[in-house]
Subunit: 219 residues, 2 copies
């Protein structure tokens, strides 16, 4: 049997920023499947601060280098939080603060990525997750900071759910799955507002590992 190669394409939530164990949720997910006897190769293609636009520009070349057609290959996309972040502190005071990517562009970009991906390999799509609004990540490099808000995350997650349904791609609404979960709230509060410590990544890995669409790839 040949290993199933999976590319996990996303942002810092996929990389696992803040995870002292340096596994993120993709590493934990694949290690758990290994224990179940599945032979996986895990390519973590998360990049800190990436929006959907950054991902659109790079995913195909990066995944093509990792998923030669002679081996089974799969694609998992996870993005959205950074699209909703509002840049503060370095704007022209005449211009009202706006999300890094406008909602209509987030939708059109995700559509383009997912439609192309689905025509190539099996695809799963995982949405943005809830943030802890009382904390906000600090940008040490200058006046611009990003402000996150759950209302915008919830709205984008709903938009992405509808898009995925339309395209026939399984969607995991992490926002809805985590927003009311006390274990998540606890983990999120222990992080920087967006990135939880290891416990949060463990929880996300467990949610994805139990997701029917993920299980259907393996079992």
């Amino acid at each position: 049997m040949t290993a199933l190669r999976i590319c996990f394409v996303g942002d810092s939530l996929t990389t696992g920023t803040g995870d002292a164990e340096f596994l993120g949720w993709p590493g934990r997910l694949c290690a758990a499947e290994g224990k179940r006897g599945h032979d996986l190769s895990c390519y973590n293609l998360g990049i800190r601060a990436d929006t959907s636009l950054h991902i659109a520009a790079r995913w195909r070349a990066e995944c093509a280098a990792r998923l030669p057609d002679i081996h089974p290959g799969r694609l998992v996309f996870a993005f959205g939080n950074n699209d909703t972040a509002i840049e503060e502190g370095a704007l022209d005071p005449q211009v009202p603060p706006a999300p890094r990517v406008a909602p209509a562009t987030s939708l059109a970009t995700a559509r383009a990525i997912l439609a192309e991906a689905k025509a190539w390999k099996p695809v799963l799509f995982i949405g943005p997750w809830p943030v802890e609004e009382t904390k906000q990540p600090v940008n040490p490099k200058g006046p611009v900071t990003y402000r996150f808000a759950n209302a915008r995350v919830a709205e984008l997650s709903g938009t992405y759910a509808a898009l995925a349904h339309e395209l026939g791609i399984p969607y995991l609404d992490l926002y809805r799955s985590l927003a009311e979960d006390e274990r998540w709230q606890l983990a999120s509060r222990a992080g920087d507002g967006v990135h939880p410590p290891a416990e949060g990544y463990r929880l996300v890995a467990a949610k994805i590992g139990a997701w029917t669409a993920w299980r259907a790839w393996l079992d």
Copy 2:
């Protein structure tokens, strides 16, 4: 303080094929530095079966997406084993078996990669490691298999050491460091001939973590 972002560019030895913990040596190395108080972001850009030629084609775009110049960024390259592999089983019987990449091309390709990299960011170079010749990885997808031999690895490692010296880039000669190490031999025998189980990756992470050139980046 802003995190130091490091790209680890290599092949399956960097990805960590065979490591049930899905950390490879880069994950273990960065986790150990985290415990020492260093704030690192770890981008594992290993791809199974990549030769120096594959890496030459992709490293700059992949690293540029991960190392924006507003944050400190570093490059660690680790390749060579796949260049030395001989394809067997599907060759024209009239043509003698040859390495996947001829030694002169391995050298010229590494020179091009490293010279360009050094002009951009701080660079470390880690050489190929010893294989267990009594075992050879099985290719489940067809008649072509790759045969590895320590004589070719040792020769390429010497070539790369001289190149790195010429370019003023620190080089870790893993071949020499591991070939006589009984812990490595034990781990290597427990793997598929090229990829050890977790214990082998732990050992490599410890060797790199103790390397003066690596320590100079952090301490």
